[in-house]
């Protein structure tokens, strides 16, 4: 898996403090974690920043039934890393992105190619992963989770005098996105998985409540308590503010003055899985058999469905391969199907089907940008009139970062 550091690297090990150049083989170990990491280098290190506990667009944290924060992390594969650290156009710091060296750069991560593709060498192309972890504690059954032993460096809080604590935790995987750029789908293909016990759908709740057996026991969910009423446990609500984890609470959500829990997330999957998704899950679970991965389910795959749109390439002469950075009108996402897709642990509070508000992988990521600037000579007041279409294309300043927000995280 990605934890071994062979095939994927965490984003925070690429976008280093001060814009330092990253090294594929080196992992940044926060000072508070060093002693424990030196004693056991096999431990996965998770550096927490706000995005590690607060969901996209600061929509809120997720608190499990044991009162622990869910933890999020983002990783990239070697193909993406190599483009970011290239000598010709390094992108691992804000200063470098904004430099003259990168002015007007068109960001175009490599596409995956099959071995039969005559247009280039075979390879996986670019893959990025976003994961959500649950701290395994209490009566959590570890055998049901893909789990790792980890050191979790808590996020720094404003005004904090000392390094935040580094906590030894067992993390259980509860969700992950796998995003893959392919030759025929340069808008990337967005797939999401979850642990099967994360949350119920409404029909699961209705079935439980309509069961009149006084001894009934429903399944145990990671982020829903069946025995709690809607009035006592409002559904899909964010926790009360403030949201920042407090060092003294060691990744537990704060309690009241009597030490009682004040909030656990009560989450319902708003958009039910399709029957076709259930079918494919059953089929793959049949193949996996008695394996921990049988505890995980596909939620869905969002893919650009308009084929002609998806096969377009830049017409700019000399555009670097795979030539997918260009003026993408009128629909830069090429009709994503399904239109909306949300993971109940990663986009908990933006589930739904409201255009431009509810979670859509491409709808959101299509707006990702970077610190890259326009070549000064191409500022509107100074640039000469384009003599031909190619010159017009060359003058165009895109500032799109190929569907990833990673470049915005440069320091």
């Amino acid at each position: 898996m990605w934890e071994d550091g062979e095939k994927f690297i965490p984003l925070l090990d690429v976008m280093l403090p001060g814009g330092a150049k990253p090294d594929w083989k080196k992992r940044a170990v926060p000072p508070a974690c060093r002693a424990q990491h030196d004693a056991d280098p096999s431990l996965m290190v998770v550096q927490m920043i706000e995005e590690s506990f607060n969901q996209p667009f600061r929509t809120g944290p997720l608190i499990d039934q044991n009162n622990n924060y869910a933890i999020f992390d983002i990783l990239m594969n070697r193909a993406m890393f190599d483009l970011i650290v290239s000598d010709k156009n390094p992108l691992y710091s804000r200063a470098l992105q904004a430099s003259e060296q990168n002015a007007n750069l068109r960001v175009d991560f490599p596409s995956g190619r099959s071995k039969d593709d005559p247009l280039g060498p075979p390879g996986h192309g670019s893959i990025m992963i976003k994961v959500s972890w649950k701290i395994l504690a209490g009566d959590d059954d570890r055998s049901k989770f893909h789990h790792v032993e980890a050191l979790v460096a808590m996020p720094t809080t404003e005004g904090q005098q000392m390094d935040p604590p580094c906590l030894r935790k067992t993390l259980g995987l509860i969700g992950f996105h796998v995003v893959h750029k392919t030759q025929n789908r340069p808008q990337w293909i967005w797939t999401s998985f979850e642990h099967k016990d994360n949350v119920p759908e409404q029909r699961d709740i209705d079935a439980f409540r309509s069961n009149t057996d006084p001894n009934k026991k429903g399944p145990k969910y990671n982020f829903y308590t069946l025995s709690c009423s809607d009035s006592d446990c409002p559904v899909n609500e964010t926790p009360p503010r403030p949201w920042d984890p407090e060092p003294a609470n060691a990744l537990q959500f704060r309690r009241n003055s009597q030490g009682q829990m004040i909030f656990n997330s009560q989450i319902v999957r708003t958009v039910p899985l399709t029957e076709a998704t259930h079918v494919i899950n059953r089929q793959f679970h049949g193949v996996l058999g008695d394996n921990v991965w049988s505890n995980y389910i596909l939620i869905g795959t969002q893919w650009p469905s308009e084929f002609i749109c998806a096969t377009r390439r830049s017409e700019l002469q000399g555009a670097p391969s795979p030539r997918t950075d260009f003026d993408k009108q009128p629909d830069m996402n090429c009709a994503p199907a399904p239109t909306f897709l949300a993971n109940s642990t990663l986009e908990t509070y933006s589930q739904g089907e409201i255009p431009q508000a509810s979670s859509s992988c491409m709808g959101c990521h299509g707006n990702a940008t970077s610190y890259i600037r326009r070549t000064p000579s191409l500022n509107d007041q100074q640039k000469p009139a384009a003599a031909n279409d190619n010159e017009r294309r060359r003058q165009m300043f895109m500032n799109q970062s190929d569907f990833t927000f990673m470049l915005e995280k440069a320091r």
Binding site: T274, G300, S305, F307, D331
Partner: protein
């Protein structure tokens, strides 16, 4: 309580790949092999004389493409995750319009509109549409229903045929359209013909406002990529 999404199944549009359908023949089921022994053959090996009659949905899509001037592939793509056409079909299928809609569909079937393929722009030729339109205009109920359909595609709003008839007789008469749905609002073709987008909704690329819009054909026709 959180509102959950209704997954009431809708009949698939022939030839459509729709991940949102509960019906068995979907992209997912093909990938999973579940449909391996239930392949539906449409047209390829079937003698022309034995072709099944086109469904009302298919005819409605052709009618809409003809009357709006938008490429059929844009109005009713084979993979249609948004599927506003189903909403529109159901609106027009209201029993109140049954007689007129049935007649309109019959005229469209008889017109035998063909969808241009190959290297064309996918827009049904105007002369074919004109021939159909001349038939439509012979009856008021069909004519004004057809106008309602055109406005529905362009504006995402429903104008009662009776109101349109009154306006035709008296330009000062008023109509009181209803927005069909939020989805219909965002999918109005008016905005695309204008090379723009509805207020509050855009599929366009970040920074699009700094550049001239793409040509109208990119919005409403089939434009094949060049130089790939």
């Amino acid at each position: 309580m959180s509102k959950t999404i209704d997954r009431t199944p809708t009949p698939p549009w022939p030839g459509e790949i729709n991940d949102n359908h509960v019906a068995g023949f979907t992209r997912r089921s093909v990938l999973a092999g579940a449909a391996a022994t239930a392949v539906i053959t449409i047209g390829a090996d079937t003698p022309a004389g034995a072709q099944p009659a086109e469904s009302d949905r298919v005819i409605f899509a052709k009618l809409s493409a003809g009357l709006t001037g938008v490429a059929h592939a844009k109005l009713a793509p084979s993979a249609d995750p948004i599927d506003v056409k189903e909403e529109y079909f159901r609106r027009v299928s209201d029993p109140k319009y049954a007689a007129a809609f049935t007649a309109l569909l019959q005229l469209t079937r008889a017109a035998n509109l063909q969808i241009p393929g190959g290297d064309t722009d996918g827009v049904i030729p105007q002369d074919k549409v004109d021939a159909l339109a001349s038939k439509i205009e012979e009856r008021d109920d069909i004519k004004f229903l057809a106008r309602s359909i055109v406005l529905m595609w362009y504006l995402g709003a429903w104008y009662e045929p009776e109101d349109l008839k009154k306006i035709a007789a008296n330009p000062k008469a008023e109509a009181f359209p209803t927005i069909i749905s939020p989805k219909a609002y965002t999918q109005g073709w008016l905005w695309r013909v204008a090379q723009a987008h509805p207020m509050g909704y855009s599929d366009m690329q970040f920074g699009y406002w700094t550049r001239p819009p793409a040509p109208p054909a990119e919005f409403i026709a089939v434009v094949k990529p060049q130089g790939n």
